[in-house]
């Protein structure tokens, strides 16, 4: 055994409803594998939950050789106290390592606690991870997306949360071999108690939609969003909103796209009556194609769009929807 412990990259993987690996966790394997190969580090993963064997096997099929699982009924639902105990036990007395998680609500809640417990540097909301001099460099938007920072973490334990679509998921290989090591969670009496989880009506899986049709303040009310919904339905997409319609109660807050809402990068993003504030752009500017419709020809949104119409969305959008409907049914 070498006296100097080897550097590691550990993925904190998450399971989706239905117990498979989340899409973001699969993408994270791509990010982590590249970082590990560029820094000469060992790639591992850890998964917490209940009934997560399938997710562990999926990680192995994606190229992770060693997967730690904390598989226990008490971990079926996220609780900061129980999850923190498992993660801390795993990271304690470890050598230098980089822990990568998706920029999810779970990781945003969990990682700052662990970082504070260990005095470790954490960078949240990364849009990229590079290497310089054999060390990771974390790239993240700051000042509401008005600037992009490249950050070094100076502690042996480095932690980061990474956004969706930073990398493609590696191809799965069923022949891949790896080891699953189960961890025994220590019994922790949680101080924080989850009484119930409530799904909000009309909430959509914006992050996974291939097409997002989003409206801004200029939509004028909830009825207007029904028009956007017709276009979204036609294209099999989801309806989103900038912050003002959510603050005004026209749309549920779960529909908000932006730095404090959903971060999306669909194949097509249609921004309707959205002026293009930095905090909104920061949540959608990685979309493959962007269409903007705005009354104001000088609106900033046109600077970040691929296609634009300067005109009244109430005329433009129904015409787009009808034309596409004819095309798709022909």
């Amino acid at each position: 055994m070498s006296a100097i412990s080897e550097d590691k990259v550990i993925i904190l993987a998450e399971v989706d409803e239905g117990s498979g690996l989340s899409r973001l966790s699969r993408e994270l394997v791509g990010v982590a594998a590249r970082l590990a190969s560029e820094t000469g580090a060992i790639l591992e993963a850890i998964v917490l939950g209940s009934g997560i064997e399938a997710a562990a096997r999926e990680l192995i099929s994606l190229g992770v050789r060693k997967v730690f699982t904390a598989d226990h009924p008490s971990l079926a639902e996220y609780n900061p106290d129980t999850y923190q105990a498992v993660l801390e036990d795993q990271l304690r007395e470890s050598g230098p390592l980089t822990l990568l998680a998706g920029h999810t609500s779970l990781a945003q809640d969990l990682l700052p606690r662990v970082a504070a417990a260990f005095g470790a540097g954490l960078v949240t909301d990364c849009v990229g991870v590079e290497t310089a001099g054999g060390n990771p460099v974390f790239i993240k938007p700051v000042f509401g997306g008005n600037a992009v920072a490249r950050l070094d973490v100076t502690t042996p334990l480095r932690m980061a949360t990474v956004r969706a679509r930073v990398s493609a998921a590696p191809e799965a290989a069923t022949s891949a071999e790896g080891e699953v090591i189960s961890l025994e969670p220590r019994g922790v009496e949680p101080r924080v108690r989850v009484m119930e989880s409530v799904k909000e009506q009309g909430s959509v899986r914006l992050e996974t939609a291939g097409v997002v049709v989003a409206g801004g303040r200029g939509i004028g009310g909830g009825d207007g969003f029904d028009r956007l919904g017709e276009l979204a339905d036609l294209l099999g997409g989801a309806v989103g909103a900038s912050r003002p319609p959510c603050d005004s109660g026209w749309m549920p807050s779960t529909s908000q796209v932006g730095i404090t809402g959903k971060i999306v990068a669909p194949d097509l993003y249609v921004a309707v009556a959205i002026s293009g504030s930095s905090q909104h752009l920061s949540g959608m500017s990685e979309s493959v194609k962007i269409v903007a419709v705005n009354q104001d020809a000088d609106a900033y949104i046109f600077k970040v769009a691929d296609y634009g119409v300067a005109g009244d969305w109430k005329q433009v959008i129904p015409a787009v929807t009808e034309s596409l409907r004819k095309h798709l049914s022909s």
Binding site: R113, A116, L151, K199, S203
Partner: protein, 263 residues
């Protein structure tokens, strides 16, 4: 006895400013806000609003805790005029911006919070300049108290705090025993405006000023250090579709999206 609530509030350059006002100083690796007045971090304002609602519902003492370099008195008074009872200010003038990363900020704030007994500590979910979302949860860890993040509703019931915490597809009802820390999101609602009289009266509220030395926290280089900073590269070449009417422009846009295989 009424609950004692601490609200942590950072001052930031107005996040609503145009992109051109966030100037990049590539030599010094920093962002220099040009012509932007300092404002209270909007999420911290939401945290203060949550505190005031608890005070209205059942009575509370609200202490505003703010740390920064050259804190704006006008920004402080405007916040204090909304229903704050007293304030603790930490003067960070002696520290380099690089030293004030999330971890060090949390250590300093936690040290200030240890100087009094608080039942509930509220912070914004994140600051609008660093967009990190770490300080609140780090403070709770350092103080050894339970924490709940991204609240849209905060209520105190007896010796417990009851919170609606935002999830990607809804929310969850969560509770924790006091003392506890809760990070607050904008869904709570905007901070009310103080009257001019209330701002004037706020000048008479008790204020404790602390220096970094008073807190007994060793500071040094940050755990997270800025290597470089740049303007975002998100501008694209936009093909504008024009026609005699908006409806015809819509049809032409659809044709273009089909022709270029976007749909």
């Amino acid at each position: 006895m009424a609950v004692h609530i601490a609200v942590c509030m950072k001052q930031v350059p107005d996040p609503e400013g145009p992109q051109s006002s966030f100037e990049i100083d590539a030599q010094k690796n920093r962002v220099v806000p040009r012509g932007l007045p300092p404002v209270a971090n909007p999420y911290d304002e939401n945290a203060l609003e949550a505190a005031i609602r608890i005070k209205e519902a059942q009575g509370a003492r609200i202490t505003l805790l703010s740390m920064g370099k050259g804190l704006s008195r006008a920004v402080l008074l405007k916040a204090m005029g909304t229903g704050v009872d007293d304030a603790v200010l930490i003067d960070a003038d002696g520290l380099e911006a690089q030293e004030l990363d999330s971890y060090t900020s949390a250590r300093l704030l936690a040290a200030a919070l240890r100087k009094d007994d608080y039942d509930l500590i509220l912070t914004g979910r994140q600051a609008s300049d660093t967009n990190a979302g770490q300080v609140g949860l780090c403070i709770a860890q350092m103080l050894g108290i339970p924490a709940i993040s991204v609240a849209r509703k905060v209520e105190v019931s007896g010796d417990r705090v009851e919170v609606e915490s935002i999830l990607p597809d809804g929310f969850m009802r969560v509770e924790a025993p006091l003392p506890a820390l809760v990070t607050v999101s904008h869904e709570v609602g905007e901070l009310r405006y103080p009257s001019l009289l209330a701002i004037k009266e706020a000048k008479k509220l008790p204020v404790v000023s602390l220096s970094i030395e008073d807190l007994g926290v060793e500071t040094g280089p940050g755990l997270v250090v800025m290597r470089s900073v740049a303007a975002p590269s998100r501008e694209r070449r936009c093909t504008m579709v024009a026609a005699e009417s908006a409806a015809v422009a819509g049809e032409k846009l659809a044709d273009l999206l089909i022709a270029e295989r976007v749909v």
